[in-house]
Symmetry: C2
């Protein structure tokens, strides 16, 4: 998505070897017009996949997920994060390790909002090592729901998440794919490759 | 907002004397089409207020705030919640007490995304005792920004938040105003009163 790549070039900040901060339009301040275009883009890609529900994780996934849900006219569910979790009968739960923060979180979804009738599109802000996507996929499996595909705003292709998803044969579409950070600059994968 | 009141009657669950659960369309599962209509409604009400920025708190405020920002074509900033906070020079911070959870949270916003040039519309999912709104207003004052008004999805008018805001002379618009819970049923304030 050309406009997103341009926005990353303009407003993203590369920190160290593998962190990109996009606090000015995605993770803290949000550009709602850009979010709407992302929703349209995800819809264009997955419109024939029979999506019945959008799944994401709080908080940064919510804006792109809701805009995508609006296009599909389906409900959006966001998993809640907890430091620890007391197992509850009414929740699907999974553990997610963050390599950036070096901590584990639990994520959970109420059993009321995911069932075997659902064909789920996962939407998330970043794909790095694939931990969040894995956690959401565990929950989808526990609910006996099916996974229609994964839509990612920004993929860091040099980390292992993308490879794991491709290996599992899951359809994935990332709006911006970052090949590398070089001298504090973002290098994108060529589009439509 | 008639459609919202009907949805609360249909899908809301009254718990005890003062809690309303709307997990099925607002706080966990989100109805994006309803969110879009809320954004339009807030825009209609505040369109002449000179709003330059929308402010909310993660996570449940994000969806209505982003849809409102889309109508106004202005950025949305969501305050992050922390259990505790180490004071940082680059953050505006405030403390928010939750009567429901009986815990204090700190909320913070990067100083980069709020300035004296901003005229802020606060959007939040619930207004009860007004703690979250107060915390956001503290941050707006610390940034020397101005407050254009407050948009609330669901107001529990029998708690003290609304009264405090009215007393402070701040323009507030709530899409659904709950007068009382009676026998597990929601009683709304008359519209356009």
């Amino acid at each position: 998505m050309k406009e997103l790549e341009e926005r990353i070039n303009k407003d993203g900040r590369v920190i160290g070897k593998d962190v990109l901060k996009v606090d000015s339009f995605l993770n803290h301040q949000i550009d709602p017009v850009l979010m709407e275009k992302m929703g349209e883009e995800f819809y264009k890609h997955f419109k024939d996949a029979g999506v019945t529900k959008i799944l994401t994780v709080e908080s940064s996934g919510i804006a792109p997920a809701v805009m995508t849900g609006l296009q599909f006219n389906v409900p959006v569910v966001f998993a809640r994060k907890h430091k620890s979790v007391t197992l509850q009968d009414d929740l699907f739960t999974s553990e997610v390790y963050s390599f950036t923060k070096k901590t584990s979180n639990h994520i959970s979804i109420s059993k009321k909002y995911l069932s075997s009738d659902d064909n789920v599109l996962i939407i998330d802000d970043f794909l790095a090592n694939g931990q969040a996507v894995n956690g959401l996929n565990d929950i989808i499996k526990a609910a006996d729901a099916s996974l229609a595909g994964i839509g990612i705003v920004i993929e860091k292709s040099f980390q292992k998440g993308r490879q794991l998803i491709d290996k599992a044969g899951i359809p994935v579409y990332s709006l911006a794919r970052i090949k590398a950070f070089e001298n504090g600059q973002v290098v994108f994968e060529p589009e439509n490759e």
